[in-house]
């Protein structure tokens, strides 16, 4: 049976209360919806969040078994240079895999999931990791600024040990011009909200769900959980009523806690539904964006096998409020900050070196000496253990999934940073190995020698002159 084998998600640590936005730019006429949105840190973007969700989803599973990676997003950093390849490299997946970017619509998450299902059903691939992630840039003061949130979900699609089987799907497609962003543009445009709500959202969600129910001869009451995005809170409830669904069947939209996460939205809601699911539950998942997809899952006995995921629940509870709207603007480079002349020294990535060292830089792989067993980062040809020193006796050793502790640290006010002080330090990895890394998502006052850490893939810099978005791994306090 083909279906979902594992799930994971990622929600950034920072949340911004919609009132913070309203206080700053409310004069522009926006009226904020209640609640808060998840906002990516300055070193996070679509790809870093996709990697985090993928890491959560894969857990301790063998990465060698993954033979496909699909990335769904509407906020990809690269137009040319496939984003899914970068995510696959960061996850240290094999190179003989199929990768694809699904872009351009908020329904791309479910479309990627359906494409993965097709490939596994067609027996072309056996384990496809589907990551859906969005970190959309909203124009300051726009309605999207309070509506959108940043987040990612990941699902592993396969045919053995599935926790939820895919039972069917139904899709509709319309060239619905509710939102658009032309090539080269920074911000989305949107047509009037009432048009989007009445001619799009209500119509398409109803149409695609009704179509699925009809195709598989189902009743809406058959579903334990019904997932569809909640762009308009009141309309979300009204649709349920029209469908004949009980409010208790509706999966929380995360609208007032995370925000609308675009391509990731339906998959994050599905992940949250799976976190609470029991064997036998039927789950209906619907996306909205230029039409929509509806998918129908049935939860299996194996659901209990998936443990230790942070998924939606744990990430939701692990948060810190971003109280400064100005800081948010700086994080998004919407208020160009003076980093001083030191900060102007550009980094120009030698692409040939980046490719040659991709295992070290993007996959956080070092080496382990076959003679003395010492793990070392970066990859060394000569063993660093002074009592060993063996040459060319190394095997690859992945550090990205190892935890560690703070050996030492500082908070540096001289280093150019959008969020000073720059916190960094030396990390001693569990099982051996030591190196220095930037720390992120942590407050200087909370860092202590000996504090446990984990590794997180982050955007290191954006060099606008060369168009390069550079990435590397940082250390971060273990997220509860």
């Amino acid at each position: 049976m083909v279906g979902i084998k594992s799930y994971g998600a990622y929600i950034p640590r920072y949340r911004m209360n919609h009132n913070t936005i309203f206080t700053a730019v409310g004069f522009l006429g926006t009226f904020p919806p209640p609640g808060e949105s998840a906002v990516a840190n300055h070193d996070e973007d679509t790809l870093s969040m996709a990697v985090a969700a993928g890491t959560d989803c894969l857990g301790a599973m063998k990465r060698e078994a993954v033979d496909g990676l699909y990335l769904a997003t509407t906020s990809q950093p690269y137009m040319v240079r496939q984003n899914s390849d970068l995510v696959a490299t960061a996850l240290d997946l094999q190179s003989d895999i199929r990768t694809a970017d699904f872009m351009g619509s908020a329904k791309s998450g479910t479309t990627a999931l359906l494409s993965a299902v097709d490939a596994v059903k067609g027996e072309m691939l056996s384990n496809i990791l589907v990551c859906a992630s969005d970190c959309r840039l909203s124009k300051p003061g726009s309605p999207q600024e309070s509506l959108y949130g940043d987040g990612a979900a990941a699902l592993l699609v396969g045919s053995d040990d599935v926790i939820a089987t895919i039972e069917g799907s139904y899709s509709v497609s319309y060239d619905f011009p509710d939102r658009w962003r032309a090539s080269g543009e920074k911000f989305e445009h949107a047509w009037e909200d009432r048009f989007i709500r009445d001619s799009g959202y209500r119509q398409f969600v109803m149409e695609v769900i009704s179509g699925l129910l009809k195709r598989y001869n189902l009743n809406i009451k058959d579903f334990a959980k019904i997932v569809y995005p909640g762009l308009y809170a009141r309309e979300h409830g009204a649709i349920a009523k029209r469908l004949g669904a009980d409010p208790g069947q509706l999966q929380d939209t995360l609208l007032s806690t995370v925000g609308d996460t675009g391509s990731a939205s339906p998959l994050m809601m599905l992940v949250a539904a799976l976190e609470d699911a029991k064997p036998g539950d039927k789950i209906l998942v619907t996306s909205f964006g230029n039409g929509g997809d509806a998918l129908f899952f049935q939860v299996t006995e194996k659901i209990g096998n998936i443990t230790g995921r942070r998924a939606v629940k744990k990430h939701l509870n692990s948060k810190k409020e971003l109280t400064s709207y100005e800081k948010y603007l700086a994080f998004r480079n919407l208020a160009p900050m003076d980093l001083g002349m030191r900060g102007e020294i550009s980094i120009r990535t030698p692409m040939s070196a980046l490719f040659r060292e991709r295992k070290v830089i993007l996959s956080l792989c070092g080496s382990k000496c076959k003679k003395c067993g010492t793990p070392q980062y970066p990859y060394q040809r000569v063993c660093v253990n002074p009592d060993c020193g063996a040459i060319d006796q190394m095997e690859d050793y992945r550090f990205s999934d190892k935890k560690g502790v703070v050996f030492t640290y500082t908070g540096d006010n001289l280093a150019a940073s959008i969020d000073p002080p720059s916190v960094y330090g030396l990390v001693d990895f569990d099982g051996g190995g030591r190196f220095w890394f930037d720390f992120t998502d942590c407050d200087l006052d909370s860092v202590k020698v000996g504090m446990p850490l984990e590794m997180t893939f982050r955007r290191r810099y954006v060099d606008e002159s060369s168009g390069v978005h550079g990435y590397s791994w940082k250390a971060t306090p273990i997220r509860a």
Binding site: M341, I361, N385, T410, G411, L414, A416, P421, D428, V449
Partner: protein, 400 residues
């Protein structure tokens, strides 16, 4: 067993510019200034010099690559000139080249000159840039600065020896206050004002736990030395200073990538010290080394260096600092000239600037009577380049 360099080479002349933010001096001006004082002190002429070594670190900031900046500036007449660069030990490396040149018998008289023009960057601190440590490091290392890298050693020292931050900062403040006291009395120093411990402790944090006064200055400067074979030295002057030891040690990578290093000392400092003591025949450095100029790029660096060089037992430097052992009137004065703290640290010049102080003190010629240390026997200079987790340390010992 190699016999080492002890007493084979003598210093017969030195020169050192005033250090500071010398907006009206180019690197070339500084080279000429240091050279002029140096040859006058040695009583020789340019034509007597057989070979030269030239130290500069951030060549892009000032003179450009290679050794021609020295030969062209000083109009050296087609003699061999070699450029050295080895982080903060750059000047000591130039000195090492000159010493080995005359010790080998290849040359009779050699010049070493170090220069650095740091103040043309437009910002405080050392020139940065991700490329300084090579392509791969630029893409994986944190975007660290020198204060941050050394602050991590302070964090670690406090943790290993159980010092509360306020105790640790108080200890470090005493280190800087002592150097400011000395620097205030030195006309060649950049920063010439005394500061109190409380001013130091309450100064803005640069990289926690290090504040502004825990960091050395950033300045321009140059220094030069003329060496000759020891058996010829008395022909030039009655009071030549003899080289007793010259050693360097470099990180093997185990501090940064293996997990044995405690992070509260500099392994290379200990190793280079041991090598130098062996070469010089020093058995008890705490008693035998009369004075030292060590690499106090940051207060914590000086503190751990006291332990690395065995002036203080491991973990016990606080007691010696509190007892005033390293003060100008203490039993083992450290940074009698004010150190990097007050001179700033023009990388390519610092090692020779330190040597200049030892040379003058040993000759009894410190500019002002109150600066003169009473009858010193052995002086030590120490440079540490790079970061505590990966670096080079040089140690030189000189005496009468």
């Amino acid at each position: 067993m190699a016999e080492g360099i002890k007493d084979k080479v003598a210093i017969i002349g030195m020169g050192c510019t005033k250090f500071g933010e010398l907006w009206d001096k180019s690197a070339e001006d500084l080279m000429v200034d240091a050279f002029k004082e140096c040859v006058e002190d040695a009583g020789i002429e340019k034509k007597d010099i057989n070979a030269a070594w030239f130290g500069v670190h951030f060549e892009e900031q000032s003179v450009g690559k290679g050794a021609t900046p020295l030969s062209l500036t000083l109009k050296l007449p087609f003699i061999p000139v070699t450029r050295t660069e080895n982080f903060c030990a750059t000047a000591t490396e130039a000195f090492r080249g000159a010493c080995y040149g005359v010790a080998s018998g290849a040359y009779d008289i050699a010049l070493a000159l170090g220069v650095e023009k740091l103040k043309d960057t437009g910002y405080g601190g050392l020139p940065g840039g991700p490329g300084l440590l090579g392509t791969k490091n630029a893409l994986v290392m944190p975007k660290l600065t020198a204060p941050g890298a050394f602050a991590m050693m302070a964090t670690r020292y406090f943790a290993v020896y159980g010092l509360k931050p306020e105790e640790g900062k108080r200890m470090l403040a005493k280190v800087s206050a002592k150097s400011h006291y000395n620097g205030a009395r030195n006309p060649k120093a950049h920063l010439r004002r005394e500061v109190t411990e409380d001013q130091i402790i309450n100064a803005p944090i640069i990289a926690w736990p290090l504040g502004l006064f825990d960091c050395c200055g950033v300045s321009d400067g140059a220094a030069a030395v003329i060496v000759t074979r020891a058996d010829m030295a008395k022909k030039f002057r009655p009071d030549p200073i003899h080289v007793k030891a010259l050693q360097i040690a470099l990180s093997s990578g185990e501090e940064l990538m293996y997990t044995k290093w405690d992070g509260a000392h500099v392994e290379t400092g200990y190793r280079a010290g041991m090598l130098a003591y062996k070469e010089a025949g020093v058995k008890n450095p705490r008693e035998e080394i009369s004075m030292a100029e060590v690499h106090d790029c940051f207060s914590i660096t000086e503190a751990v260096t006291m332990e690395d060089l065995q002036f203080s037992p491991r973990g016990k430097v606080k007691e010696d600092i509190e007892a005033g052992r390293f003060n100008h009137d203490g039993s083992q004065p450290i940074q009698p000239d004010g150190g990097l703290k007050c001179f700033g640290h023009p990388i390519g010049a610092s090692g020779l600037r330190m040597l200049y102080e030892m040379y003058k003190q040993l000759q009894g010629k410190a500019q002002l009577p109150e600066r003169q240390i009473k009858s010193p026997k052995l002086g030590l200079t120490h440079n540490m380049g790079g970061f505590p987790a990966m670096n080079i340390v040089s140690v030189a010992i000189v005496g009468l």
